[in-house]
Symmetry: C2
Subunit: 304 residues, 2 copies
């Protein structure tokens, strides 16, 4: 299968690298620093199961997505429109497009630009870029997609590449379930520079996360979203399974990069305003992250 990965950040490199290792033709579209490093040494994948230099193709040119039958959109949620506009001329007519992004509205936003069906995938992976072309995988790696997203053959391709792929008839609910976990942890981890385990040990932080989750669920309910599972158990699970992990928002802020907070707590605040639902705890976290971001004004070029 010919696969193009738009955005060579941690998510794009992880899934692109796994699929390449399983024998697929993969090209990563990314920023020059990552692309140059991958050209020189391959993608260095330091995962929980293996460490290897992986000679996957990489390019800075979005036009190189031409010919791919599967496109994985892995840019930051804040770059979705830009990425879509750049991809639009080059996506093959029959290509399957998957959004492997945080937030709940990226598939819709990609669709609005591409005028093509885009399938959302819920991404459960703990990974980060440690430097140019250097991926560190901390754990997990499964994806959740809707029933119509991919053929059985494609699903098998992912599973055979070591990427567990679950099919859900409530993928939007699953996206919300993940959004709620992100809203509970990402901003607090970024603001305090603390990992999940330390946060969850703290009673006040738990109380705050509980309020954040309640506000999110109130918005979801008004949006007629059925959030699967018990969100609070999900919060507990994160602390139990990834106690040493810092959120992607924390990683962004530590590196002086703009985060995805507009599409996490910021999304809840905006939807709450539209629906006349108060979301003060989310608003507090959102405002503080935006303040911290305002201290650096680094441009965040697209693609990731």
């Amino acid at each position: 299968m010919r696969i193009a990965v738009m955005g060579a950040g941690a998510v794009g490199c992880y899934y692109g690298g796994m699929l390449f290792r399983a024998g697929h033709q993969v090209i990563l579209i990314g920023r020059p620093t990552h692309v140059e490093a991958i050209h020189q040494h391959g993608l260095f994948m330091d995962t929980t199961r293996f460490r290897a230099h992986v000679p996957v193709r990489a390019s800075t040119k979005v036009s190189d997505i031409q010919g791919a039958s599967l496109v994985l959109c892995c840019v930051k949620s804040s770059d979705t429109e830009n990425a879509a506009a750049m991809m639009a001329p080059f996506v093959e007519p029959n290509a399957i497009i998957l959004s492997l992004q945080n937030g709940v509205d990226n598939a819709r936003r990609l669709h609005a630009q591409l005028l093509r069906t885009v399938h959302p995938a819920v991404v459960y992976v703990a990974a980060e870029m440690m430097g140019p072309g250097h991926l560190k995988h901390h754990g997990r790696g499964e994806l959740v997609v809707g029933p119509s997203a991919m053929s059985t053959q494609m699903l098998e391709a992912f599973v055979n590449a070591g990427v567990p792929m679950h099919v859900s008839d409530n993928v939007v609910g699953e996206l919300w379930a993940k959004l709620i976990l992100n809203c509970a942890y990402n901003a607090i981890s970024a603001i305090t520079k603390m990992p999940y385990g330390l946060l969850f040990e703290n009673e006040g932080a738990r109380d705050l996360m509980r309020v954040v989750v309640q506000e999110c669920l109130a918005v979801a309910q008004r949006e007629s979203i059925t959030v699967p599972g018990d969100s609070w158990q999900g919060v507990e699970g994160i602390a139990a399974t990834m106690p040493g992990q810092f959120s992607s928002t924390a990683q962004d802020l530590m590196r002086g990069r703009r985060s995805e907070i507009d599409h996490l707590n910021g999304y809840i605040v905006r939807r709450g305003q539209s629906l006349a639902i108060d979301t003060p705890a989310n608003q507090a976290l959102y405002s503080i992250v935006k303040l911290l971001e305002s201290a650096f004004t680094a441009d965040h070029p697209c693609p990731t």
Copy 2:
């Protein structure tokens, strides 16, 4: 007048120093580092009107408050009970006791230990300790007391010492008005390490402060407190008059010290819980400051 100042932090040093310069017999009770520096070089007062080494007396012994006809309690709100217990054996029977502290319940808490009338004073001064015995005054310096707090003669003594002293028949309301300003600014300034002006320029921060103020006013109303003036105008006024100032909470955190947050946003959260009023924005700010404090476990000895 013989005056004892309990707590040789910025507030205690400012008012103690001003009264000493006006000819009163003042003793500052403080920690060894400040006391030793003051013994060697005097109290260095770097104010908006003068810079001088002021040979005020200083002591680490609480027993040295004996003989004072006026006692100014200037310890952090978290040290109130300790300070009261230490002072109790040595306060003269006829001494006037003033609490020059943040928060709204210090006079009550001092009274509970001292079993004596304690008059709250609202303190409006921007000042900080830059090092042992080194006070930096950034602006203002007025006090507000209740009608019964001090005699006309005492009021004149303060005014003649360059300390404007206003009398209000709603000093509890005035304390709340200041508490609300502290709740709006202190935690956000501490969390983001930003001064008041930068915070107020930011739309999201203003929105958050507005919610914080509303929550505080809801609690005040249920407590039957009449908060004088327009609290939001007060918030605007802080940004306009002290744009470069960092909150005392920010100063505490930057120095690895426990802050007074339990008696600011934390107080609103606790009162809200008692009164079944939701205060999620205050709770978010409070929880984050407590998390940041949990990263250092420095003991905070009494007195300040």
